[in-house]
């Protein structure tokens, strides 16, 4: 019981961190806006309070039209990637798995590249062709990998990992080929590059409105698999002995993880390390029980990406660094620190 209370406390603290990160990241940028002002603006928006305006109208526009969509977008990306990381690591029983491991990244990148190649300028629910193509490419690749790995009515996890590696390399090659062949892409190299390194590009609330139900819904669904993911730690056979319908749940967990990853990719490109580092940090600090790991990783991932994105757009302002560079620069050493501190957990 004491342990349970401790875990609830940790979850609450992570929630507070996430909200603090939201405010902090809204405050800083090309124009700095004071935190009390942001709090008052937000409360006024709820139509319960009516604080007298101590800020300029342009500041309100910056907060609501530019900063908040982007910050909330960052939170959603982080939550989605961290949850997908937990799902894939649990299902594949591989602590090194990340959300992109079975080909999502290569599929998304190829989809995005093809979209940049096409001389079409479409917008759909606030999304351009590139994010939509990235989303579809990611899901199509996972589907392809899953089916390639299918042997005799089953999809052994090891063959899925192998198929994922091979399909990813193949798609990366096609993408490189397209880039070197097309003048249009040569001109767009900057956007290809920015997609590959990760860059949160939220242009307005429509995108948030589409992504939010996907991500929040996905996180809630993921929680239903907590016990089964715990059982899957014993392997496919061991989980089956404990009453898990392994083949069915494998499809569901893969679909869920891929959908979350694709949703993140569609507004941020490929941000590395979030789905790897955040679940690890939680697991090494508080244990591997998925009932706690899933919500904790989601909250932590959200806060992590918000802060990383804040750094990405402020430390070299007005130049923006790709957020994936920041997550890697923070994430990699932190990961190594955790690994060395608790090495024995990986000894077997």
């Amino acid at each position: 019981m004491r342990r349970r209370n401790k875990l609830i406390l940790v979850l609450s603290l992570l929630g507070v961190c996430l909200i603090a990160a939201l405010f902090l990241a809204s405050a800083f940028g090309a124009v700095n806006i004071s935190l009390p002002d942001i709090a008052k603006m937000a409360l006024n928006k709820l139509a319960i309070f009516d604080f007298p305006s101590t800020w300029r109208a342009v500041e309100e526009t910056i907060i609501f039209q530019i900063r908040l969509p982007r910050v909330i977008g960052g939170a959603l990306v982080g939550m989605a990637l961290a949850t997908a990381g937990v799902l894939f690591q649990g299902l594949l029983r591989n602590p090194m798995a990340d959300p992109y491991i079975i080909g999502t990244s290569a599929g998304a990148a190829l989809g995005a590249t093809i979209a940049m190649l096409l001389p079409i300028n479409l917008a759909f629910l606030g999304f351009g062709l590139v994010p939509v193509a990235a989303f579809c490419g990611a899901l199509a690749t996972v589907f392809l990998v899953y089916n390639l790995a299918r042997v005799g009515g089953k999809t052994p996890i090891i063959s899925m990992l192998l198929a994922g590696v091979v399909v990813s390399s193949f798609m990366a090659a096609i993408m490189a080929l397209l880039i070197s062949m097309s003048d249009r892409l040569q001109l767009n190299l900057q956007s290809v590059y920015s997609f590959l390194l990760g860059h949160i590009s939220v242009t307005g609330w429509e995108q948030i409105a589409v992504i939010t139900p996907l991500v929040i819904g996905g996180i809630i669904c993921a929680r239903f698999f907590a016990f089964r993911l715990n059982a899957l730690s014993l392997g496919e056979e061991g989980a089956a002995y404990l009453g898990v319908e392994v083949e069915r749940d494998k499809i569901l967990i893969l679909s869920l993880g891929s959908l979350l990853t694709a949703a993140a990719v569609s507004i941020s490109g490929l941000i590395g390390f979030v789905g790897l580092v955040v679940p690890h940090a939680v697991r090494l600090s508080f244990g591997p029980d998925h009932r706690f790991l899933l919500p904790a990783a989601a909250l932590g991932g959200g806060a992590f990406v918000i802060i990383a994105d804040l750094l990405a757009r402020t430390i070299m302002a007005p130049t923006e660094i790709p957020v994936g560079v920041i997550t890697a620069i923070i994430g990699a050493p932190f990961f190594l620190y955790l690994l060395r501190r608790t090495r024995k957990e990986y000894a077997f």
């Binding site: 602590p95 239903f224 730690s233 014993l234 002995y241 404990l242 009453g243 244990g287 957990e345």
Partner: protein, 266 residues
């Protein structure tokens, strides 16, 4: 109460037939040892009995129901399996691993109840590893892990317990401890037990009924005295042995004859 009926079962992996026309019926409360050389199909037979492999031919019935028509969850509430070895890639504690045995009884979003926790601590106590509860599973010795997995299976409150060479990683004291415990659960609570065994002498001491497999067929099925004969072991294992009597229990006791000593036979 549970009974298992395996009738006319054939099974093959991709590369050839592993089991041929197996007929085996186990009544509730029996304690059956499966014997046979490596590759004779013991493990495969256990996997068929637990329903995770499907027979190519024939039928397996659990309590009269065809096992292929039962859900995994239903089976897991009746049948627990202790495989040879588990590797767990994450740092679960012993207590958490044993709690996994309650998985088939838990609802997706609910927490484990007081009753679940009590069953887990009973299982830990029964197997004699209560002091390991906070230890990480990955840091335990092979023998301790085997006991944790047994405790997990017992937390499942099974009616039928399938064990795949439960004593293989254990020293002699632990071997006895595990088999006596299983035997006690069998006689005391009527737990039906089917165990694949490597050690013929242990099997002879602790099991009432032994089934000897050879190349995927049932070669002999009966009491230890009926199954463990010099001729039978010679034929099935291609090993020369002498069968003596255990001085205290009278069970058959197999003595290996090293090759150089073959002429010393009576």
């Amino acid at each position: 109460m549970i009974s298992l009926q395996i009738s006319q079962v054939d099974f093959s992996y991709f590369d050839g037939l592993v089991l041929h026309k197996i007929d085996l019926s186990v009544k509730a409360g029996e304690m059956v040892g499966l014997l046979g050389p490596n590759g004779s199909g013991k493990t495969t037979l256990l996997k068929l009995a637990s329903g995770i492999l499907k027979p190519a031919q024939g039928e397996i019935r659990l309590d009269g129901y065809s096992i292929s028509s039962l859900s995994r969850k239903y089976i897991a509430r009746k049948v627990a399996v202790v495989p040879q070895q588990f590797h767990i890639p994450f740092a679960f504690t012993t207590g958490e691993v044993v709690m996994l045995g309650r998985t088939p009884f838990l609802r997706a979003l609910a927490d484990e109840s007081e009753a679940d926790r009590r069953l887990v601590s009973n299982a830990l106590e029964l197997v004699g590893i209560s002091e390991l509860v906070e230890r990480r599973f990955n840091e335990l010795s092979g023998g301790e892990r085997q006991k944790v997995i047994l405790a997990m299976a017992l937390a499942q409150q099974p009616k039928l317990l399938l064990l795949d060479e439960p004593t293989v990683h254990l020293d002699i004291a632990h071997q006895m401890e595990i088999l006596e415990l299983v035997r006690e659960l069998n006689t005391g609570q009527g737990l039906t037990v089917i165990a694949a065994m490597h050690d013929l002498n242990l099997a002879a001491l602790y099991f009432d009924r032994l089934v000897l497999l050879k190349e995927g067929r049932v070669w002999a099925d009966g009491t230890p005295n009926q199954v463990l004969t010099e001729a039978g072991i010679g034929e099935v294992f291609s090993a020369s042995v002498r069968v003596e009597q255990h001085p205290l229990t009278g069970a058959p006791h197999i003595v290996i004859i090293p090759r150089g000593n073959a002429n010393h036979q009576k």
